[in-house]
Symmetry: D3
Subunit: 223 residues, 6 copies
């Protein structure tokens, strides 16, 4: 049985910076990966068009299906529309494991997406929050070993060429140091670290029954 995994980000590159290693690890065990990117990052110092194709390349690196939200960069609303966008992909994908940005973040879009993920997943048993360059006071409790996927993660981030070149907060060296730091804390070599929104540890991995119960039916959506 295949598990579906959904990662949600506000802008192109957010998912790759936050949890590309985890997604590649999921991929390695045969899980199906879905990305939901809420905006095209059109406020950055480059054409939105290039950011779209960059995100498409990154999705290829991750072997993931790419979904787009239709929100405006810098102005993702808190509340129903954002939640419904997550719910739609959650329902369509049947994802039992969801990754989103951590709530304590100085970027307004990250906070809005984090809240929307938590709301949409209010019936899910596995919701994890990843660290961003603008996270504040991030305090993880769950780690994933990404030693075999760090190169892949860096490749996925590099797909966002415009950001690597122009955005000081997209810093490949810092990404590697972060993985090494969290790895040392977790007593492995390289780790991605997550705050657990809700995390049921399934000892029998593949019987992902708990997660399935978490998918909202059309009738029970956000009110």
């Amino acid at each position: 049985m295949v598990t579906d995994v959904l990662a949600v980000g506000a802008h192109p590159d957010d998912i790759e910076l936050g949890c590309a290693g985890a997604l590649l690890a999921h991929r390695a065990r045969g899980d199906r990966i879905h990305l939901l990117v809420m905006t095209t990052g059109e406020q950055g110092p480059q054409a939105a068009l290039s950011r779209i194709s960059e995100q498409e390349r990154a999705a290829e690196v991750l072997g993931a299906t790419l979904h787009w939200g239709a929100f405006h960069d810098g102005a993702i609303p808190e509340g129903r529309p954002t939640i419904q966008a997550v719910e739609a992909v959650l329902r369509e994908s049947g994802a039992g494991i969801v990754y989103g940005p951590a709530i304590s973040d100085t970027h307004q879009d990250h906070r809005a997406v984090s809240a929307a993920v938590a709301a949409a997943c209010r019936r899910s048993s596995r919701v994890m929050f990843y660290e961003s360059p603008t996270s504040v006071g991030f305090s993880p409790s769950v780690y994933l070993d990404v030693a075999e996927h760090l190169d892949g993660k860096l490749t996925a981030i590099r797909a966002h060429t415009s950001q690597v070149l122009k955005n000081h907060l997209v810093d490949l060296e810092a990404v590697e140091a972060q993985a090494r730091y969290h790895g040392f804390r977790a007593r492995i070599r390289f780790a991605e670290a997550f705050e657990a929104g809700r995390f049921v540890w399934d000892l029998f991995v593949k019987g992902d029954h708990a997660g399935q119960a978490g998918i909202p039916t059309a009738l029970e959506e956000v009110r």
Copy 2:
């Protein structure tokens, strides 16, 4: 002297799930109970009309006066209109003790109402926040003994027939387990648990002077 107690909820059933036991205990000592329900919960899988009459029945069970906010289910705004709705009932009722939903919640309406209660009660000395099915990381510091009021609480929740039948997060068995769990933590049998927004413990119960000072006058409202 009678103390007025105000409980605020986003949707029909929120107050009953969160603090019906406390309200019945207040009622038992002669306090006057006021409910403010912000929406009719019209996005749920049933007619808004039935939810209104369900809430009216629940208010009867609690012996409470029912006030309605005029907000849209799923879209309660953060900010002034919501705060002013709470202030209006706070002033009209003269409530010296206020219950609202806890701020750490995955439901956007609960967060908005929680923030509005905190803002409206910025001069109150007794503001308590209750747990919801969608609360996250709820960490209570004040408990109330609800052993004699648990049946009444379940009756009040059952008045919301549509939710008991169709909403998986309204789970009477879980409500009882929650009261037993918090009760065990508090070294009594059944308890409701609250985060204290601000809590002045009045050793002489009835001279509720501190609370009275907390009611905003028309001139000092939210700016």
Copy 3:
């Protein structure tokens, strides 16, 4: 029915600095006050004898029964002997409400007494922790109005003449500022603030049944 209240401190003056206002408020409603002071503070720059008589005078100001532990100043052990000393007075007094020092403190004796109070009161429903001059990161959730008892509190502290004269951390002006600061936070004038170890709010004040269940019988003591 009279409620018995127990306050525990490591050294002469600790109780007065931490919760004399609360104790005087309890006294004002007819509660019986018991003090347990663990050491005679004999390491300070004055004779132990004078500190004993200072504490006796302070107990008189509070209208309280004074019990002494038999521990050494600066070397109160963590663990069974200290816990048993608290349990003995807890049982003898039948106290249903207990005050002790907060656990986050840089003074080793305060931490040891705090842990002993929490352990001895593991079946109690009302355990409150007070702030000390050496507390760190104190974050209160329950306040008591001490406006009418601030003078009495200062008088009780002044009974510890040796400390007021020689110990820079016993600072009457700072005590008053502290009460005013916490009072402002609680939206009253002067308050003492407490961290709630466990706090069941009894709406009917005098039927202190919950607390009574908290007194360990001889058979159930610390194992």
Copy 4:
């Protein structure tokens, strides 16, 4: 490949109350279970002898190997001897997953054992802390589904007949409510909840390499 799991408790019944459901789940997937009980609980209102045989029966219910520490009930030391006792069993068992009591607890023995587990496991990648009746402010981030093991857990606790009969804090009804409460929070039916001391989520479950690295060699023990 078989994973070895170690659970550590201060007294007979601590492990069963804290994580019997998890241990039975581990057992169900073929893991080997080891118990380390630090004292015989000889200070309780019954012969130590009966508590020993009660613990032996409980270990049978769990299908676990039982190890005893040689400490005194109520007086487990913080520091090296306790840490070395855990290290010895950790090394002998080769355990890659360890369960111990949560550190925020009012019982001095629980705190001492919690600290010793954390110290002994300073190189382990999977250390989880369980809730006790005397835990305070327990805030879990990892859950295990124990729906199929709740009966087994209750059976294991019932093996401690002397405690079920005489210790008010061993309360089978409260145990069930606790599992239901945490289950509801985790969006499953019954759960055990854990604070993650360090938790590397292994997507491929059985290749428990990270944990193995955590076993101290004789040369690298506690200094």
Copy 5:
């Protein structure tokens, strides 16, 4: 070399209540002070006009350059416009040290401004958050000695005559008690206390290179 310091507040008087002492200390060492006040506080019980001139007088007392945001009192939006207003002054002033209101506050405008300051300063190395009368659970980690500037602070607050006379939360006595309380905690006489959003302690004070890197260029603004 002169360091530029920016303080941001939602309403006239917020900055003076929160950090006038710190600003005067900065002024005393030759730093240049900039104030950004987001609204004219026009919802209060007095003419907006008088609040504008009050703020102008307060800025004079502080020796500061005054900037106004153009937002509506009580309705400062969370998100891009507010962030851009902070960014504009941040860029124009070249400020390397920024003070804003703490995020845990019951006033919606304070929260919105706090979030905007954090977002605008996402590349800054020195961002500090001050306490307000409506702050909740404020837990400072950095203190400034304001003994020599307390009179100046009270003078700056008194410039807001309309508030001192009519707003119960502007309480000069409480301001002094607050400074004395935090001072006692910091082991000095009078202190202002701050939560550190991000704080790089510069041992060589004047070479404020880290801060300079924090100023967003036009191309890198909030997306």
Copy 6:
């Protein structure tokens, strides 16, 4: 005027791992550095003698005066003797800034030293706690720029040859990643991060009056 800075560690190498960068930065501005190492680390897999000379070499690298405590590796007591050892050096050195290990640590010696530093410095205005390889949940609020001192830090750690070769938790690569990670968080390149026990930010750096008040006189020592 020269400021004296004291760093305290449990074992040889603890100070270097925790705050060598900060100490070198202090040194660079002319501060006098004092080290207090509580044990010789004699339980490690090498002769105590070699660890002593390793620590002496590290002190030379830091340009620091070295003091030794006389405690046993793995068995540093919590309480008076440890506190008095810190107080003695604090008094002798006149240090106004003190660095010690963070309290949340799985190593018993680190916890004991952290508590002793906090107790001894109960009158100090600048006490900072550093991260160790065995720290847990470290959450810094104050950063120091160590870009120019990272090489020096690594040199100081390398002086502990026996540990670099044999102790897996002394990992130079992880040290560099840690500095880069904290640096990225602080928006500089390389940083050491500290929890602030008490931190008064002195805008005029050299007039270290606040700190001086923090030195206990002989009469006011730990009671």
